[in-house]
C-alpha cells in the first residue's frame, strides 16, 4: 500500500478523467482491506471444511464430513422415532376407534391430508372430488360409494386397490360390453330406462321396453331397482351422481363399450399407519358412512 498522505494538496490520481472529473488514488482504509482479506481466508477455509470442490469422483468431502442429504435423513429418522408410538397405536386399534381418540384423530386427519395430496390427488383431485363429474375418477367427498363408504370398506379399498393386477385380494369386477350382446335399438331402450329410474327426462315407451332388458341383463349386478351392488362395485343408477355421465350419449357409450377404473393397491407402498390415516381423512371429508 502506498504510504502517501491522502490529505496533502495534490494526492495522486488514477490518471483517468471523465468530463473533468478525476479519481483520487487513495489507499483503501486498513480495516476495510483486512476485512476483505479475512473474507477470502474464511472462504477458502469453508471450502476445505465443507464439501466444495468438484472432482471426477464427486465433490471433495470436507474435513467435518458434512452432508445436507445425511442431515435430511437424520431429520426423517428423528420424526419417525418421534411418531413411532402414535403410528403403532394407530396401526393396531380397531378402525372405528380412531375417531374416538382425539390424539389419533388429529394425527390421522393431518397425516391423511398429506398422504392424500402426495399419492391420491393425481386421480381424485386436490379437493378429493374426482377430476370432474363424468370423468371416471370417483368423487370421494360425496355420499355415493361404489365399494362402500364405511371406514372398513375404505380401508380395504385403499389396501388392496381396485382391479389391481399385483394384489390377489383386490376388488375386481367388469361390466360386459353390451355392444357385442345387444342390438343398438335395445341399448337405446336400456338407456331410456336408466334415465327413467334416475328421474331424468326420457321416452316413456322406450323406457318401458327397457325395463325387461334391464331385468335380464343388468339387474344381476346393479340390482332389480338399479340401486347398485357394492359387493361388485356396481354403481347406483338411480341417484344424481354419474361416474361416466348421465346424459343419453354418455350412457349409450357406457352400455355399449363398458367402462371401469383401476386403482393401485397401496398395501405394499404405504405403511399401515399411512393407509389408516388417509382412510380416516377420506371417511371424515364428507362422504363417510
Amino acid at each position: 500500500m502506498s504510504k502517501q498522505d491522502p490529505h496533502r494538496d495534490d494526492p495522486a490520481t488514477t490518471g483517468h478523467e471523465w468530463d473533468g472529473i478525476q479519481e483520487f488514488d487513495n489507499p483503501l482504509p486498513r480495516w476495510w482491506l483486512w476485512t476483505f482479506i479475512a473474507t477470502i481466508v474464511i472462504a477458502i477455509a469453508i471450502t476445505i471444511i465443507y464439501p466444495a470442490w468438484p472432482t471426477f469422483n464427486g465433490p471433495t468431502k470436507g474435513l467435518i464430513g458434512y452432508s445436507s442429504r445425511a442431515d435430511v435423513a437424520a431429520d426423517i429418522q428423528r420424526f419417525k422415532a418421534a411418531n413411532e408410538a402414535v403410528d403403532t397405536k394407530l396401526s393396531t386399534v380397531p378402525l372405528e376407534d380412531i375417531n374416538k381418540d382425539p390424539v389419533l384423530r388429529s394425527y390421522a386427519m393431518n397425516g391423511g391430508a398429506a398422504v392424500f395430496k402426495t399419492w391420491c390427488a393425481q386421480c381424485h383431485g386436490q379437493g378429493a372430488n374426482g377430476v370432474k363429474m363424468g370423468s371416471g375418477y370417483p368423487n370421494l367427498i360425496d355420499d355415493d360409494w361404489l365399494w362402500g363408504g364405511t371406514i372398513e370398506a375404505i380401508h380395504t379399498t385403499i389396501t388392496h386397490g381396485i382391479r389391481s393386477a399385483d394384489d390377489p385380494d383386490t376388488r375386481d369386477s367388469a361390466m360386459p360390453q353390451f355392444g357385442d350382446i345387444l342390438e343398438p335399438s335395445e341399448i337405446d331402450q336400456l338407456v331410456q330406462h336408466v334415465r327413467a329410474i334416475s328421474g331424468q327426462s326420457n321416452d316413456a315407451t322406450s323406457a318401458k321396453a327397457g325395463a325387461a332388458l334391464f331385468a335380464d341383463n343388468c339387474a344381476a349386478c346393479h340390482g332389480d331397482k338399479g340401486t347398485g351392488g357394492r359387493d361388485v362395485g356396481a354403481p347406483n343408477l338411480t341417484d344424481a351422481i354419474w361416474l361416466y355421465g348421465g346424459d343419453v350419449a354418455s350412457l349409450t357409450n357406457t352400455v355399449t363399450n363398458a367402462h371401469y377404473g383401476i386403482m393401485p393397491a397401496w398395501g405394499g407402498r404405504l405403511t399401515e399407519s399411512q393407509i389408516r390415516q388417509v382412510a380416516t381423512f377420506i371417511h371424515e371429508s364428507g362422504g363417510g358412512e
Binding site: 498522505d5 490529505h7 496533502r8 375417531n99 384423530r105 383431485g125 386436490q126 379437493g127 372430488n129 363429474m133 368423487n139 367427498i141 360425496d142 355420499d143 355415493d144 347406483n236 341417484d239 344424481a240 351422481i241 371424515e284 371429508s285 364428507g286
Partner: protein
C-alpha cells in the same frame, strides 16, 4: 479547529475523557427521580404477578412468543390485535414529537436508557474513585496496586449492574421466577443466554466506556430531533448578553465592566458530554440541565440572580437582548404546535381505548372450501364446506353452538360431530369444518350464490358473533 497548511486536519478525533463533577440542584433531583422511576419500572415490572386463572400465565407483563400472546395486566393481546401495539408505538412517536418541539432534547437528557444507565455508572464511579478531581488524578496516575484495585472494583460493580440489566430483559419474555432459576442451573433456552450476554456486554460497554460517544456518533435520534426544534423550543442556553465579557470578579477597575460569568468552569466540569454550553447550542448537548444547577449554585454564592444558564428559547434571546424582562417557559411550551400534537396524541389514545373495550371475547373466521366449491350428493342436494376458526379469548374452555341463517332450506353438520356444539379450550383457536347442505330443488341449490351468515354462540354467556359468507349452488343443473 484551526487548519494550517502544513498540518492537514485529522479525520479521526480521539475520545476526550470526560469526568463529570457532582452537582446539587433541582434538575439533578429531577434526574434522580427519573432514574429511580425508569429503572424501577424496568427491573421490577417482570416480577409483578397478576392472577388470570388456572390456564394462563400469572405474570403481569409478559410477551409470550411461543404462544403468541402479549399480556399486560388485565389486557391480553393476540397477534391479530397487534394494531393496538402499533397504535401505542404511534403514540410513543407523537409523544416524542410533542416533547421535542416543546422542550428540545428532554428525552435525551432525562429518560433515554443511555443517559440513565450512564448516570448510574457515573454514580458507581464516583463512589469507588471519588469525585472529578480524584478521578482525573487516578486517570493520569501510573498503573499500580491502588489503581488496579479501584478499577477492578468499579468494573465488577458495572458488570453486575449490566448483568442485572441484560437479565431483566429476558424476564419479559418468560415467567420470571421460573426463568431465573433455569438461568442459574443452566437449563434456560440458548436464546435467553444469548440475550443476557449481549445486553450485558452492550450495557457495560455503552454505560461504562462509550457514554457520550453513543449520543454523538451512533444515535440517529439527535439528528432527527433537530428537525423538530423551532425558535420557540425551550432548550438549555447560556445568556451571553448577561454573562459576557466573562472574567474573575476581582476588586479592580476593569472588573466593573465584566458580565456575570466569573469563568469558574463549573458548567463545564459537571457536563456529562464534556462541552462548554457557553459556546452556544451544539449538537452534543443532551439538555440534561446539570450546568443550570451548577451555575445557579455559583450565582447564589456570588450574590447574583439565578439563570445565567437556563431553559430558554431562541425568541427569548432576541427579546432579552432588546432589554425585555425574561418570560416564563410555559409561554413557549403551550403553543399551537404542541396543542395540535397533544390533540392528535389524545385522539389516538382515546380510539385505542375504545378499540380495546370493544373487542369481542370470541372471534370467528369463516373460509369457504373452494376445491371443490360444491359437491352434488346422491339425492341431488348441494353441499358446501366451510372452515371455521373460533377464537376463545377467555381463560376457560367454552362450548360454542354453531348455526346458520337463514335456516330454511339449509342443513348444517359439523365434521366428526353429531351435535352442533364444539368445545374450544381456554385461550386458544379451534379449527372446525362444517358441511352446509341445500336440499334438492331449493333456491340455494340452484342459484349461483346465496348469501348466508354463520353464527357462533357462547352457550355460557350468550355472546354471539357471525360472519357473512356465500353458498355456491349448482347453477348448471336442472
Amino acid at each position: 479547529m484551526s487548519v494550517s497548511d502544513d498540518q492537514p486536519p485529522k479525520l479521526y478525533a480521539a475520545q476526550e475523557p470526560v469526568f463529570p463533577r457532582k452537582v446539587y440542584g433541582n434538575f439533578r433531583n429531577l434526574k434522580w427521580a427519573m432514574m429511580v422511576v425508569t429503572l424501577g419500572i424496568y427491573y421490577i415490572t417482570p416480577w409483578i404477578r397478576w392472577d388470570r386463572g388456572p390456564n394462563l400465565p400469572d405474570q403481569a407483563v409478559l410477551i409470550d412468543m411461543a404462544d403468541r400472546r402479549f399480556f399486560f395486566f388485565w389486557i391480553e393481546i393476540w397477534p391479530q390485535e397487534f394494531y393496538l401495539v402499533a397504535g401505542l408505538l404511534v403514540m410513543a412517536g407523537l409523544g416524542l414529537f410533542l416533547f421535542t418541539s416543546a422542550l428540545g432534547r428532554v428525552w435525551c437528557g432525562y429518560s433515554c436508557p443511555q443517559t440513565v444507565w450512564t448516570d448510574l455508572f457515573v454514580v458507581v464511579e464516583r463512589w469507588i474513585e471519588g469525585d472529578r478531581n480524584a478521578r482525573v488524578r487516578l486517570y493520569n496516575s501510573k498503573w499500580g496496586a491502588r489503581k488496579i484495585r479501584l478499577r477492578t472494583t468499579k468494573w465488577t460493580i458495572w458488570l453486575l449492574i449490566s448483568a442485572a440489566t441484560g437479565g431483566a430483559w429476558v424476564f419479559y419474555f418468560m415467567d420470571a421466577p421460573f426463568l431465573l432459576h433455569h438461568l442459574f442451573v443452566g437449563r434456560a433456552p440458548y436464546v435467553a443466554y444469548a440475550f443476557v450476554v449481549s445486553l450485558t456486554a452492550t450495557t457495560f460497554l455503552f454505560g461504562g466506556f462509550l457514554r457520550e460517544q453513543i449520543c454523538i456518533y451512533m444515535c440517529p435520534w439527535p439528528r432527527i430531533q433537530a428537525a423538530m426544534i423551532d425558535e420557540e423550543t425551550v432548550t438549555v442556553s447560556y445568556r451571553d448578553w448577561r454573562g459576557e465579557p466573562r472574567g474573575k470578579h476581582r476588586k479592580s477597575a476593569e472588573a466593573v465592566n465584566l458580565g456575570d460569568c466569573i469563568d469558574c468552569a463549573a458548567c463545564v466540569n459537571v457536563c456529562p458530554m464534556g462541552i462548554d454550553i457557553r459556546d452556544g447550542q451544539q449538537m452534543e448537548c443532551i439538555t440534561c440541565a446539570l450546568c443550570i444547577d451548577a451555575c445557579d449554585d455559583v450565582m447564589q454564592k456570588i450574590g447574583k440572580p439565578r439563570g445565567l444558564i437556563d431553559y430558554i428559547s431562541l425568541t427569548d434571546e432576541i427579546s432579552e437582548r432588546e432589554g425585555n424582562p425574561p418570560i416564563s417557559a410555559w409561554n413557549h411550551v403551550i403553543r399551537l404546535r404542541t396543542i395540535i400534537y397533544t390533540g392528535i396524541w389524545l385522539a389516538i389514545g382515546a380510539s385505542l381505548i375504545l378499540a380495546l373495550f370493544m373487542r369481542a371475547a370470541i372471534d370467528l373466521n369463516v373460509s369457504p372450501v373452494r376445491n371443490p366449491i360444491f359437491v352434488t350428493l346422491s339425492d341431488g342436494s348441494i353441499r358446501n364446506t366451510f372452515n371455521l376458526r373460533i377464537r376463545n379469548k377467555q381463560g376457560e374452555a367454552r362450548p360454542f353452538e354453531i348455526s346458520i341463517s337463514p335456516t330454511e332450506g339449509f342443513e348444517l353438520k359439523l365434521q366428526g360431530n353429531e351435535a352442533s356444539i364444539v368445545n374450544v379450550p381456554a385461550d386458544s383457536t379451534g379449527a372446525h369444518k362444517v358441511f352446509v347442505t341445500a336440499k334438492k330443488g331449493s333456491l340455494a341449490s340452484k342459484s349461483e350464490l346465496t348469501h348466508i351468515r354463520i353464527w357462533v354462540k357462547d352457550t355460557v354467556n350468550g355472546d354471539r358473533v357471525y360472519r357473512d359468507t356465500v353458498f355456491n349452488g349448482n347453477q348448471s343443473r336442472n
